[in-house]
């Protein structure tokens, strides 16, 4: 028995070590440690209004899905976000295209980008409310601001760093104007463009949640920020935590499912980014 077990045991522990050393396993371990720390802290605090336990938050999340329509709130937030993001993309495309053909437009865009990029979008909300009133337009305005400048900056640097040889190859084959832009410049600048889109998305998501907190309800039903704000007013802190966890989960999900997948299939596959 022991002769069989002995050579077998180290092999099991070796493969366990190997599994435990994968990045996924390490990440799961880190999350588990954090959850444990949270649970312990909440037990010690013993005040669910200040800090609910992890288990209570999970139950609150289930309850929120069942009876508090958190899914609807997510949908409201995402649809506003997508609208703002799409408009911002169109605006950026127009600005960058103008900059590509006209030197003055280019200087202008560069200056605007340098000036407005550091301005937090949420700081524009009071002004937006003054201009557009209490409604979706104001939110979409600040969302556009959150996306247009970082994306323009990424596009400008992306086009600037296209290898000169690839530009010459395009010109050699007689490409010019929109064809040159679509077939050479955009794919060659794709790593930069994708990271601009990613940054723009992250900024837009934060801005939106913050705006909803300030704003409350836009149309009949509120978004995720409003969900958090409303539950805090009712001192349902476990639901506030459930809302925050949802904000994080959606941010990560879009990052991993959308952007990482696109990167894997494009710039990484082509060896243009690591």
């Amino acid at each position: 028995m022991s002769e069989i077990a002995q050579p077998f045991a180290p092999r099991v522990s070796a493969s366990l070590v190997r599994v435990a050393n994968t990045p996924a396993a390490r990440r799961i371990a880190a999350v588990l440690v954090l959850i444990l720390a949270w649970e312990l802290a909440a037990i010690l605090q013993n005040n669910p209004i200040m800090l609910p336990r992890f288990s209570a938050t999970v139950l609150a999340a289930i309850d929120a899905i069942r009876s508090d329509n958190i899914v609807g709130a997510v949908w409201v937030s995402l649809s506003v976000l997508l609208k703002g993001y799409a408009i911002a993309l169109a605006v950026t495309l127009a600005l960058v295209a103008a900059a590509a053909v006209n030197g003055f437009a280019r200087d202008m865009l560069q200056m605007l980008t340098a000036m407005l990029n550091p301005l937090p979008a949420i700081a524009l909300l009071p002004l937006a409310l003054l201009w557009f009133g209490l409604g979706e337009t104001s939110i979409i305005f600040v969302l556009c601001h959150a996306v247009v400048w970082p994306l323009s900056l990424a596009a400008l640097t992306g086009f600037d760093t296209v290898p000169p040889t690839q530009r010459l190859v395009g010109r050699n084959y007689g490409l010019s104007g929109p064809k040159f832009l679509a077939l050479i410049l955009i794919p060659a600048a794709l790593p930069s463009l994708l990271s601009g889109l990613k940054i723009g998305w992250a900024f837009a998501w934060r801005t939106l949640i913050a705006a909803e907190l300030v704003f409350g309800v836009t149309s009949g039903s509120g978004g995720l920020g409003w969900f958090i704000f409303r539950n805090r007013n009712d001192l349902l802190t476990d639901k506030v935590f459930a809302g925050l966890a949802t904000v994080i989960a959606i941010g990560l999900l879009v990052e991993i499912l959308v952007f990482r997948t696109i990167e894997q299939r494009t710039v990484r596959r082509w060896g243009m980014a690591r």
Binding site: V169, L183, W270
Partner: protein, 267 residues
């Protein structure tokens, strides 16, 4: 007898009247510097006939690349003109395809085959299916058919240059322009690329304008040599490479060395 003589006469006649595929007439090139235009090339003329392989040979900085860029249409001459089949060129065009020295001339987001097919579709307007077939033929010609689905970052430097050559050949340009395409390769790969290029170009009968600072490479590849002096580039000598045996090549190399290096030593 008389038929043979007539054929010979006809050949001579054809050689005399053959219009050059490409001609540079009194070409001067310069760059705008801090204190006016700095001359890079001064009064250089040459003609390239169908099937010729003209090599511009000279030390680094003598303006070889500048000439090539001007012929490609990327750079406007300060004086003189460039004629393509007798017509002055007007900017870049796919009748003069360039193979660059830089490995990043392949589009990284396209596979080897897509890179070769790309100008066939977008510059010549061929259907995608036909372009793909022709790309495969061209890749086979340079011995890379097996790597057709690889992306440039998966290819070695030599393989990248082979794909670039295939892409240029597939376009069947009037003249193929090459700017030290093997300069960034190791010595062994370079030798192999030179003989392979020669074989392919002779097989398809391509017309070549080739730029190099290597005397060995020039004598290996060229049917005609055009020697340039540095700062600004001026014609030192031009001649046809006739003998192709090892001994004849060696004597050509010695002759070129005398003209290029000897002159510098004497000056």
């Amino acid at each position: 007898m008389s038929i043979n003589r007539d054929v010979a006469v006809f050949d001579q006649y054809r050689a005399a009247t053959k219009a050059p595929v490409l001609a540079a007439e009194h070409l001067s090139l310069g760059y705008a510097g801090a204190s006016g235009v700095v001359a890079a090339v001064d009064d250089v003329s040459f003609k390239i006939a169908e099937g010729d392989r003209l090599v511009l040979l000279g030390p680094s900085g003598c303006g070889k690349s500048s000439i090539l860029r001007a012929v490609a249409g990327f750079h406007t001459p300060t004086r003189g003109r460039i004629l393509s089949r007798g017509r002055p060129i007007d900017g870049p065009g796919p009748d003069r395809v360039v193979v660059f020295q830089e490995f990043d001339q392949l589009l990284p987001w396209k596979s080897a085959r897509e890179n070769v097919a790309f100008p066939l579709v977008h510059a010549r307007g061929e259907s995608r299916r036909l372009a793909r077939e022709r790309a495969d033929e061209a890749l086979e010609l340079v011995g890379l058919l097996r790597a057709r689905n690889s992306y440039p970052h998966e290819l070695s430097g030599g393989m990248k240059q082979r794909v670039a050559i295939a892409r240029a050949l597939a376009m069947e340009p009037d003249v193929l322009l090459m700017d030290e395409p093997f300069a960034a390769l190791d010595a062994l790969t370079r030798r192999k690329m030179q003989s392979d290029l020669l074989a392919v170009v002779e097989r398809v009968g391509a017309t070549l304008l080739f730029v190099t600072h290597s005397i060995q490479e020039a004598v290996m590849i060229g049917t005609h040599l055009h020697l340039l002096s540095p700062h600004p580039g001026r014609t030192v000598a031009e001649f046809e490479v006739t003998g192709r045996s090892d001994a004849e090549r060696k004597s050509t190399v010695r002759e070129v060395e005398r003209l290029l290096v000897g002159e510098e030593v004497a000056a």
